[in-house]
Every structure is written in C-alpha cells, then in structure tokens.
Symmetry: C2
C-alpha cells in the first residue's frame, strides 16, 4: 500500500488513452489496480469510485472504463489478488504448526486474516459484486482462480487435521470467508460509530474483537466437524 509510489509512477507510463500495445495496456491496468487498492485500503472498498480512481491516476473516467468493464469488475480483481496473496501464507503457516489442533488451525486462519483488513473488506463485497455488472467471463476467471486457492487450502487443512472430511474443510472455508467479511466490518467502525458503541452499555454486543472472535467460532466449527 504505497500511495506515493503508485502516484509518482504514473508519470512513467505512456498516456493511457493511447495505450494500445499489450505492454502499455498492462501498465495502465496495473496503475488502475494500484490506485484502486490504495484508495480501498485508505477509505474502505465501498468508498472507491471510478471517479476517485480516475482522478488519482490522472485518467478520464471514460478512458478508465475501457480497461475495466464496471465499478464492480475492479474489486473482483483485487479480491482475486487477495486470495492469491493470502492463500500461500495461510498454507505455509498451517504447515508450520507443530501440533495441529482445531484451535491452532483456527488461530492461523484468524491471525492471517486479521493482518489483511483490505482483503476482509473485499470479502464482504464479493458475493454482492458477482451479481452486478460483471461479465460472465470475468466471473468465470474469478471463480477459477479463487477455487484453485480454496482447493489448495482444503488439501493442507486435511493434511493437518486428517479427521476432517472434505465437507468439513469446505465448511471451514465458507464460514471463514463469510465471517471474515462481516466481522471485519462490524469490528472496525469509524471513530464516531466506535465512540457510540462504547458510550452506551446497551450496545455492548456491537463491540467485537475481530481476531479472537473469528478464532473462537472457527475452533468450535472444526471441533464439531472433527467429531464426524
């Protein structure tokens, strides 16, 4: 997430409107993704608009739309990138466990996600974006890329916890992505909303600590699944 690099590198890229060679097109696409990633990390995924991305890289919005179909296509690319960055780290940390148990496996999931706020934010948006303004080709590519990661993770989880069957490992991933998306949103309110939650004891349920809560739920789920 280096805003300065993303912005200053822009001057090195040929004018995007003329980026007709594959290399120039790729450079433009990368610049757009860099800008979207920085904006999302800074302001949350939901606040990233095509206009803001276009402004950040000095490209006209209509030109930008030549690279990305829609506002929704862009977060999908970031989410895919997020899976491809998280998954190897998760697999590595799982394999490094000396004594894999439901609790220690769950803690690795929770810890690696807690360190990836932008990815968690994106996970909450993905199911909604897939249904809106995204081409079938983009959906297919996204699904193939993320499913490859899901399958790799399932394999490692089952190596670590051989008592777990295929369904149990798949349920772990479903629960992880659903909960990471929603708990992260709940656990990281803006400063005003956070102050509201702390100020009123009737709102105590709204105060959520992301990593321990996610670890606890995934531990119980794995313990239940491991009994089969």
């Amino acid at each position: 997430m280096c805003n300065v690099v993303a912005i200053s590198s822009m001057s090195m890229v040929p004018r995007f409107q003329r980026a007709r060679s594959p290399a120039a097109r790729e450079a433009a696409e990368e610049a757009i993704l860099d800008a979207a990633r920085d904006l999302a990390a800074e302001r949350r995924v939901r606040s990233v608009t095509l206009t803001a991305v276009a402004e950040m890289i000095g490209m006209h919005k209509s030109a930008l739309l030549r690279y990305f179909e829609t506002r929704e296509g862009d977060p999908l690319l970031l989410t895919r990138e997020g899976w491809q960055e998280w998954s190897p780290q998760l697999q590595h940390d799982l394999r490094s466990l000396r004594k894999p148990t439901p609790a220690s496996v769950a803690r690795v999931f929770a810890r690696t996600l807690a360190a990836r706020g932008l990815f968690c934010d994106l996970l909450a948006h993905t199911p909604l974006n897939l249904e809106r303004n995204v081409s079938l080709d983009a959906i297919r590519e996204f699904k193939l890329a993320t499913h490859a990661e899901v399958e790799a993770i399932i394999e490692v989880v089952r190596e670590m916890l051989p008592i777990l069957n295929e369904d149990g490992a798949l349920d772990l991933i479903s629960a992880t992505t659903a909960l990471a998306g929603s708990l992260w949103q709940i656990a990281t309110p803006g400063p005003e909303v956070a102050a509201l939650y702390r100020s009123d004891p009737r709102l105590a349920l709204a105060v959520v600590d992301f990593e321990p809560r996610l670890a606890r739920i995934l531990t119980r789920l794995l313990e239940g699944s491991a009994r089969r």
Copy 2:
C-alpha cells in the same frame, strides 16, 4: 410483497410534498418502505435506487430524501423490520421442537431463513450500510432494535440447548447472520450465472444449496460449542 397494493394505495395518501402532519408523514414513510421492500424482493437489495423508489410511488427524489436520510438508511429500516419478523417465528419454531438437538436447532435456523430471501439479502448489506451515510441516531436505533431480538433468540436457544453457554449462543447468531448473508447471494445467482456454474465442472464449488449447507455448518458449530 404486494406491488399492486403498494402502488394503488398511493392515490389515497395526501401529496407527500405536503405531508407535514405526523400521520401524513407516517403514511409517506410507510409507502416508501413498501416500495423499497417490493423493489428489493423483485430485483435484489443492491439494485434498489432512490430514483426507482421515487418513481414507483410518484414522488420526486428530492422530496423522498426528506423522509430518509440516504440510500443506506432505507435498507436498515427494512433489515430491522426483517429481524422483528424473523425472530418471533424462529423462537416459536425452536420452542416447538420436541427433541432439541444441535442438528434440529440448526435446521430451524436454516429453514426459517431459507423462507426469507429478502432478509438474507439485506443481511449481506447491513454491515456495509452501517458505515456509510447513516446518522449515529439511525445506527443506535437499529442496533438497539436488533440487539433486543438477538438477546431474545439467545435466551430461547439456551433454553433448548442448556449445555450451550452465552458465548456459544452468541457465536451461533454471528455465524448465522454472516453465513445467511453470504451463502444466500452465492446460492441464488441470476439465470445466466447459474447456467455458467452448471456448464463448467471446474466451477462445481460455486453451486451451493442454501438450506442444507447452512444447516450443516450451524450443526457442526453447535456440536463444537456444546462440548464445552
């Protein structure tokens, strides 16, 4: 979800621009919520725009904004309404269980949610909407109303499964709402996307059957939690 009634009842309501009495204001608010609910059920929550709601009830968009702060305030009201409708039914069905077990309790959660697609759709949007363009008062009211339902549900769940502690029951609700939101989106793609998933065996993971999948995950979670 009766479009016809919602639209035709409009002619009975005084012109909204002049709705200055509390009763007229209430009627206008109700008409707006009716329209938003019908549109959301028909086209999905994400597609509901202020413009579409305004058109449906023949009110100018700027007039509509006098009743609802923002595009995001409206789904929150529908979500609150959704909790207040789902929760009593859930509690009733839980209390009617002859032999409450983790599996039978989980099945009641899954069955009552599978019958409420709009509520599931709304649940996926709520954590995102709470952080955007919604006043602190609206957030407080929303949280107080939904927490009252969460607490009532926790109480009934613990009556049915006394082995479950407070945390276990709370985790059940967190997992339920997160999974209902995300699984429902995944399980109900539009016809084109559904055809894509069926056409390519590499996309088999994307085909999800909402009710059995949710029931299975919640059963495992409850079994894990009940061991404590």
